[in-house]
């Protein structure tokens, strides 16, 4: 055997030995790393969870600035927990840190543009920033987006929030368009159905409200709120008799309902004031028109003391009425009253509800 052979063999053995040690070290390090990473993850998650709970508590108490700080810690600790991110965005919006909230939500939406809650928060943020067109768009994305848990309920609530925004913008048509799909979605939920019927009234569609209330009363003939709502819808539509009847039914269910009683009184006085029923004699129609003109004149005078219309109204009211009391004469007085009402509305707050309801009916 050559003298170098053992050297060569020992070199191979050395390589083998070093390789074995390296493998053992790799295995050992891997075990340590995985253990450390798991421990760290668990500790960080526990820490973040406690921050989240603390931040949520602060937010509920209205301490938005403090909540932001604590929730930020939760979010920084565990970035992939969406709950923390969303709650931080809520706190930031509450603390008026709109820029940061927007960046945070944009980040979420960039990853998942259909995320319902993020779109809803973004919509609220846009409302806060005054960008109502963008807010509407985000509300729509939220409505048609993906929600965790009870998605239908979230969608309904989001749509109701959008309707509220539209109501504040006096966008009746858009409001009606958003309310219509809700009717089908909320069947079997009387509370929401009543809310929707009320929205129909606000959106200028009391006939739809009446139909919803009738359906509700078919299901529960002792639903006092439904009777009251029906009464309001009938008032809006100008059917004061039906309104009277609805409020009476509400009182039958609960005679102690003072609000229903007040509305019944209103409906009764409206019935006595209404100049439009065909069965009225011309004299009675004329007398009611004079009362309406007088109310309109008083309302006008409350915020404007001059003008041709006021003069004309005073002249008409001071002139001694002579028969025959024709319908044409009554229409003239009502027309003058309508002009006064329109002129008044531009500068004054709406006053007498009775007059307001009558004028709405006359305008129809």
């Amino acid at each position: 055997m050559s003298p170098t052979a053992p050297t060569s063999e020992s070199s191979a053995r050395l390589t083998l030995g070093v390789s074995a040690i390296v493998l053992v070290i790799i295995f050992g390090l891997w075990t340590i790393d995985v253990y450390l990473a798991k421990t760290e993850r668990a500790e960080v998650q526990a820490e973040a969870s406690s921050f989240y709970l603390e931040g949520t508590g602060l937010l509920e108490k209205g301490q938005a600035a403090e909540a932001v700080e604590v929730l930020r810690r939760a979010y920084t600790a565990v970035r992939d927990e969406r709950r923390y991110q969303m709650q931080l965005a809520v706190a930031l919006i509450a603390d008026s840190k709109t820029d940061e909230a927007e960046a945070l939500l944009e980040d979420v939406l960039q990853k998942n543009s259909t995320y319902g809650q993020a779109n809803l928060l973004m919509a609220r943020l846009m409302v806060k920033k005054g960008d109502l067109a963008a807010a509407e768009s985000y509300y729509h994305r939220a409505i048609y987006g993906i929600w965790s848990g009870d998605a239908a309920s979230h969608q309904i609530q989001t749509r109701l929030e959008l309707i509220d925004l539209l109501e504040r913008r006096h966008a009746s048509k858009e409001m009606l368009a958003e309310t219509l799909p809700l009717e089908g979605q909320t069947e079997g939920n009387p509370s929401l159905q009543k809310q929707i019927a009320n929205l129909y009234i606000v959106a200028g569609s009391p006939a739809r409200a009446i139909s919803v209330y009738h359906a509700l009363l078919q299901g529960n003939s002792k639903d006092r709120e439904a009777y009251k709502g029906l009464g309001e819808a009938e008032l809006s539509i100008g059917d004061y008799h039906q309104a009277q009847s609805a409020f009476l039914n509400a009182l039958r269910v609960n005679p102690e309902d003072s609000e229903a009683r007040k509305r019944l009184e209103l409906a009764s006085s409206m019935t006595a004031l209404d100049p439009t029923p065909r069965r009225l004699s011309s004299k009675e129609k004329f007398a009611r028109s004079m009362r309406i003109l007088q109310s309109a004149r008083d309302a006008y005078q409350a915020c404007s003391r001059s003008g041709d219309l006021l003069g004309a109204a005073n002249a008409a009211l001071s002139a001694k009425a002579q028969p025959p009391f024709t319908n044409e004469l009554a229409e003239q007085q009502l027309s003058l009253a309508e002009k006064l009402w329109k002129a008044r509305r531009a500068s004054c707050e709406p006053g007498d509800e009775r007059l307001s309801l009558i004028m709405e009916k006359l305008a129809q």
């Binding site: 170098t4 390589t15 790393d33 421990t39 980040d107």
Partner: protein
């Protein structure tokens, strides 16, 4: 005599494979990637968890003063007593190992760096973990290569692999890690080890993701360029970032000079001075303590107010400069990103305040600022651009980043001649090759033709004897010294020029201030020729990079000409012909 095969097929196969070092190096690049990746992950987890334990949320302010001081004192003593090579960043030390120590980094240094740095950073010392990771990575590569008995040249080649693997894991930016290893550590973008460096960086990065998941180091919000006007603001950021970088580097170097003037016996106590200063700053502003990446994350979202980010930029410059200069273990790589983020956040906040409609969130400026300070302090513009690009993974950031980085780089280059790592090496008396000189390191090297261990002229030699020696050797200059110690060079014309009869010995005419021409063994011959020509001498000493007073040999004009294939007669004939 032929070598018989080792016993057993398996051992034979191992031996055959072991003898093919080029293949072994490729396999080692994978192993180094895995090993270094695992070690760096442990380093990250250890520093992170230890720091969380030291500074639990809502902890008392006194801890912020006491812990850095205690940490610096204990690690300072261990560094002084047992692990002197584990001080500081680790990047200059890695370069020393590659260019001076034949790729040698001891296991003791690796262990010391790992544990002492973990303790130091966890205690709140305002330094970073990337530089130490680089030294640990390079050290692992060095130890592994040596244990396997591979050649010195190949051990040296393993070190950049360790560096890139360490940075890829520490920063989660594998491409920037490869670039940094080539641009800063090797100074050669076309290094032959490129392939292996890429393999080790990629392997280490995979290990990081396997263990820690896909969580990025910084959570960067989506980047948007709001208007072209912003380019102008990014240029301003480049100027501010460049000036900030120069302030940081100059302050660090100046404080380091002051510490170096103190008696060597105080070495164990010096880190405590840095610890105390950072503790006092931390008392006032806790964000200054430690690595601080959590706060960088927050600035990137544009969360901090202008006053806070501006103060933090200044305080971190002071804290890092003093911690590093006083000899604590930790790097400046991470702090430079922190400082950059704060400078960028400040510039961005001012711009956003005055031009809200046409500027992005301050966070975008903080992001670009990180690269800007990195380019200004570390002076690796390519790495800084790619690193931020890797962090954002957003192509649209490239142009603002390039504008700002290049301006910062240019300003830093003009106001601070040496890059920080070279300046630090110079303070140690080590002459690392510069970017330009590295380009010259091609072709025949001085070390290949030098005359080893020449007989030096003693300082006490009288001038007549020296003249005779030069005549006998047929040279017009010769080194003066004793043993391996070089004092200077004496030229024949100096001796001839002596008129004063009282000047009798070489010590009277040799300049002892170290300002003599010299070359290093890795210099090209052309540089030796150039320096001989400039000094008007035909003999030049070859000295150590670590100590220019240590002479390895001399290079003479005839030996250089011979290496180029020209004899002295031919050269003389050429000169006559030209005349």
């Amino acid at each position: 005599m032929t070598q018989s095969p080792p016993k057993g097929k398996f051992l034979g196969w191992i031996e055959r494979f072991r003898n093919r070092e080029d293949q072994l190096v490729i396999l080692l690049s994978l192993v180094i990637g895995v090993l270094v990746g695992l070690v760096v992950v442990a380093f990250i987890l250890l520093t992170g968890r230890l720091a969380a334990r030291m500074y639990p949320p809502g902890s008392a302010a006194w801890r912020r003063v006491l812990l850095p001081v205690t940490g610096a004192l204990s690690t300072g003593y261990l560094l002084y007593r047992y692990f002197p090579n584990a001080r500081g960043s680790g990047i200059p030390q890695t370069k020393f190992a590659i260019f001076i120590d034949n790729g040698y980094i001891s296991l003791k240094t690796v262990l010391g760096k790992f544990f002492l740095c973990s303790a130091s950073l966890a205690s709140g010392i305002a330094l970073g973990r990337e530089g130490p990771s680089v030294q640990v990575g390079a050290g692992i590569a060095s130890v592994l290569g040596r244990r396997l008995g591979i050649s010195t040249e190949n051990v040296k080649a393993l070190l950049p692999m360790g560096c890139s693997a360490a940075l890829a894991a520490a920063f989660n930016t594998p491409i920037a890690a490869v670039l940094f290893s080539l641009e800063e550590i090797l100074g050669d973008m076309h290094a032959p080890v490129l392939g292996s460096v890429v393999i080790s960086a990629a392997t280490s990065w995979m290990v990081l993701h396997l263990v820690l998941g896909d969580e990025p180091l910084f959570h960067v919000p989506a980047y948007h360029l709001v208007s072209p006007f912003e380019f102008l603001i990014y240029a301003v950021l480049g100027v501010v970032g460049g000036l900030g970088s120069v302030c940081f580097v100059k302050l660090l170097l100046k404080i380091r000079v002051l510490f170096k003037k103190l008696p060597a016996s105080t070495g164990w106590l010096q880190p405590a001075a840095g610890g105390l200063l950072v503790g006092l700053l931390g008392w006032y502003m806790p964000e200054v303590l430690g690595v601080g990446y959590g706060y960088v994350d927050r600035v990137l979202t544009g969360d901090f107010p202008l006053k806070t980010v501006a103060i933090l930029a200044v305080l971190k410059i002071i804290a890092t400069a003093s911690c590093y200069s006083s000899g604590n273990a930790g790097g400046i790589f991470g702090p430079s990103l922190f400082i950059g983020a704060m400078i960028g956040g400040s510039v961005g906040s001012v711009a956003h305040h005055f031009f809200p409609a046409i500027t992005a969130n301050p966070g975008a400026y903080a992001l670009v600022g990180m690269g800007t300070a990195f380019a200004g302090i570390i002076r690796t513009p390519m790495t800084s651009v790619i690193m931020i690009f890797e962090l954002t993974r957003d192509y649209s950031i490239i142009v603002p980043l390039m504008i700002s980085n290049l301006i910062s780089f240019f300003i830093s280059q003009r106001l601070q001649r040496e890059p920080i790592y070279e300046a630090l090496a110079l303070q140690e008396g080590v002459y690392l090759p510069t970017g330009e000189s590295r380009e010259e390191l091609s072709g025949t090297r001085v070390g290949q033709v030098m005359q080893i261990r020449p007989e030096l002229l003693p300082l006490e030699m009288d001038l007549g004897a020296a003249r005779r020696r030069l005549q006998e050797a047929n040279r017009n200059a010769w080194p003066v010294g004793s043993g391996e110690r070089l004092y200077g060079i004496v030229a024949a014309r100096q001796i001839e020029g002596v008129r004063d009869p009282s000047v009798k010995f070489l010590r009277h005419i040799v300049e002892l201030d170290g300002k003599y021409p010299y070359v290093h063994p890795d210099h090209p011959l052309s540089l030796a020729l150039e320096r001989m020509g400039a000094a008007g001498i035909d003999t030049i000493p070859v000295v150590s990079r670590a100590d220019i007073r240590r002479i390895y040999g001399v290079v003479t004009l005839p030996s250089v000409l011979a290496a180029y294939g020209v004899t002295e007669e031919m050269a003389a004939a050429g000169s006559k012909h030209q005349a």
